[in-house]
């Protein structure tokens, strides 16, 4: 049932490190997952857990000191499998995939559009980069795209500069920019974090619509559990550069098996919480990535840690694709 043709992306034992002047930070430390076509994978975790670095590793948009040191990232394009981690960072093969096959949306729409070019120019530039098309025709496509995303009078607004757009409109423009070449995979790195709550819902709704229309696969990076529950088909929970729990939404949110996932879910405020009741927090703080604890990296903060947690936990397959990186996941976790 897991036939290769269904897959769009396979990440295997990805390790990405940052070489700072004095130390090496293992930002992503052996991440593996598979993605099927047309599905949405939600990647959740605290700040600094490596979710963004994982996404940036896929398209090789890491900062200069960031490096993929091991593992493979296989992208299944219509012309066969491509090993992305082996491509040159800014080589023509990688660039042919960026924007055309894999689109990206970033966290801060205010900062991710270039202030000195018009919205239309920036969207059209993605088309002219990948297709032999006249500038006028590219502009027309950009107008269509913006109209589809609900920007009124798109044909005139296209001549506007980013500062003339509101935050929500800028993020729509970013979606238009990322989707205009009809990519097979869209990586959305916290696309709604910088937006108002009402705008957040609109943007997510639009992303769903686009996915329906084009059958795009989406990797949605967020720290918002509500968004994941709403948007994702599968969930990867990350902690300290590793996926600690992976499964479908039903599996992970319905019966979370990793103590970290549980703790995350318990720390989400819900409507109707008793007055005066304190929200659960995860005790301690994330360890320094250049000085990781021995064994399970969550053990020092875990309420269920045992002696066994001093040794590195193995991935346990719970069936149906649900896997958990914890010694105690088979039971015995009661709060």
């Amino acid at each position: 049932m897991n036939s290769e043709s269904d897959l769009i992306l396979k990440v295997d034992n990805l390790q990405t490190q940052f070489h700072l002047s004095r130390r090496v930070v293992k930002a992503v430390n052996g991440v593996s997952f598979q993605m099927k076509r047309g599905r949405t994978l939600g990647v959740v975790g605290e700040s600094g857990c490596g979710k963004s670095v994982t996404a940036h590793s896929i398209v090789q948009l890491l900062p200069k000191m960031g490096r993929i040191v091991d593992g493979s990232i296989t992208y299944y394009s219509s012309n066969g499998a491509v090993e992305l981690s082996k491509l040159k960072r800014n080589g023509s093969e990688m660039r042919a995939i960026r924007g055309k096959e894999i689109g990206m949306i970033f966290q801060d729409p205010m900062a991710s559009l270039n202030p000195v070019f018009t919205i239309g120019h920036q969207i059209a530039e993605n088309i002219t980069q990948h297709e032999k098309i006249s500038r006028a025709a590219a502009m027309e496509r950009a107008v269509e795209m913006l109209t589809m995303l609900g920007i009124p009078q798109a044909s005139t607004r296209i001549k506007d500069y980013p500062h003339q757009f509101s935050g929500g409109m800028k993020q729509r423009a970013m979606i238009a920019l990322a989707m205009v070449c009809n990519p097979k995979l869209l990586i959305a790195d916290e696309p709604t974090t910088a937006l108002d709550v009402t705008i957040q819902a609109q943007i997510l709704e639009l992303m769903k619509e686009m996915q329906h229309k084009y059958g795009t696969s989406i990797i949605l990076i967020t720290h918002n559990m509500g968004i994941v529950a709403d948007m994702a088909d599968d969930i990867a929970v990350m902690y300290m550069g590793r996926i600690v729990e992976f499964g479908t939404v039903r599996q992970v949110l319905g019966s979370p098996r990793h103590p970290y996932t549980r703790a995350l879910l318990q720390s989400v405020p819900v409507l109707g919480i008793a007055k005066g009741e304190r929200l659960k927090t995860i005790r301690g703080s994330t360890p320094d990535p250049s000085d990781m604890p021995e064994g399970c990296e969550f053990a020092p903060r875990c309420d269920f840690a045992t002696k066994q947690c001093k040794t590195v936990p193995a991935d346990t397959d719970l069936g149906g694709g649900h896997r958990v990186r914890c010694w105690n996941c088979m039971g015995g976790l009661t709060t």
């Binding site: 990688m94 970033f106 202030p115």
Partner: protein, 318 residues
């Protein structure tokens, strides 16, 4: 926007008026007057010397504000006046000297902006490389060494030891032509523009590094654009604004620097003329020369506004 800039340009005139008043008052506050320079002290001390008639003849007896308005109205009619010292027409003096100064300043400006920006770009793209460190060293030298000293060293090395370039002057005697001019202007222009080159280089590097870390550069890369396009079109276009502003603000310093460089290299420009005029209390010449400098400063700040509006779509004057 046209309306704004017309208004902005015309506002240079009243500002210039205020500047001339300040220069005029400043000149009056300095001790001595042209007569002490013109007339031998023995003659001044002699009993039957009629100072008043001299003053009257030169118009120095009138109240200060009358002197000022006499001069100012004359200037508005295009009468720049005459040197008090030797009676030459200031217009003729300018005709000879202004082109030389502008030539030197323009050469320095072109050399330093091209060199400074290109080196700064290289430094930012190849951050912490050997080229970057080399540029940093040059930059620190350029910012810290005074230009007159640099000029003397340059003459010592390139003219006296190596004999590659002439010691000074604008053209060899009896010679003309572009090549001779180039040979003469090269060293003073490089020396004059050296600190500006260094400043531009450091500034370009800094703003480029800042811009290269921006999200929109990542967006540009995420479209699959080639790296040169990311750097030149998306990053440099944004780094250019502050760099051009710095360039415009440094323009008056460049003009001011010519005063010193011209005397080091014996360049027959406004600098030498101004130096002589100040020591001789030659009011009309000093007034015109400083006013020209003030005009250039005001023009530079006008250019800053104009270029900001042209380069940055966020700035619009309506």
């Amino acid at each position: 926007m046209l309306k704004y800039f017309t208004f902005r340009f015309l506002s240079i005139i009243p500002m210039l008026f205020v500047v001339t008043i300040i220069i005029f008052i400043g000149l009056q506050l300095t001790p001595g007057d042209p007569l002490t320079y013109l007339i031998p002290p023995e003659l001044l001390a002699s009993a039957n010397f009629d100072l008043a008639s001299y003053k009257k003849a030169m118009g120095l007896d009138a109240p200060l504000y009358v002197q000022f308005f006499r001069w100012f109205s004359g200037m508005l009619q295009g009468k720049l006046g005459y040197s008090l010292v030797d009676g030459t027409s200031i217009a003729t003096m300018l005709g000879h000297r202004l082109p030389a100064t502008l030539e030197l300043a323009a050469a320095a400006l072109i050399i330093s902006s091209v060199l400074g920006i290109v080196l700064g770009l290289i430094s930012s793209v190849r951050q912490n490389s050997a080229a970057d460190y080399g540029n940093t060293v040059i930059g620190i030298i350029g910012i810290s060494i005074p230009e007159f000293f640099l000029g003397i060293i340059a003459i010592q090395i390139f003219s006296i030891k190596l004999g590659w370039l002439p010691v000074g002057g604008r053209l060899d005697y009896g010679e003309s032509g572009f090549l001779s001019l180039l040979k003469h202007v090269a060293m003073p222009a490089l020396v004059l523009g050296f600190s500006l080159t260094a400043a531009l280089m450091r500034y370009t590097r800094g703003t480029m590094l800042d811009v290269l870390g921006k999200d929109y550069v990542k967006t540009a890369r995420s479209k699959g654009l080639p790296e040169w396009k990311v750097i030149v079109k998306h990053a440099f276009r944004n780094a250019l604004m502050p760099v051009i502003l710095l360039l415009c603000f440094r323009l008056p310093m460049l003009i001011g620097g010519t005063v010193i460089i011209e005397s080091v290299f014996g360049w027959p420009g406004m600098g030498g003329m101004l130096l002589n005029a100040v020591s001789a209390k030659d009011y009309p010449v000093v007034m015109i020369a400083t006013m020209l400098t003030a005009f250039m400063v005001l023009l530079a700040s006008f250019l800053v506004d104009l270029l900001t509006a042209l380069l940055d779509p966020r700035v619009r004057f309506d």
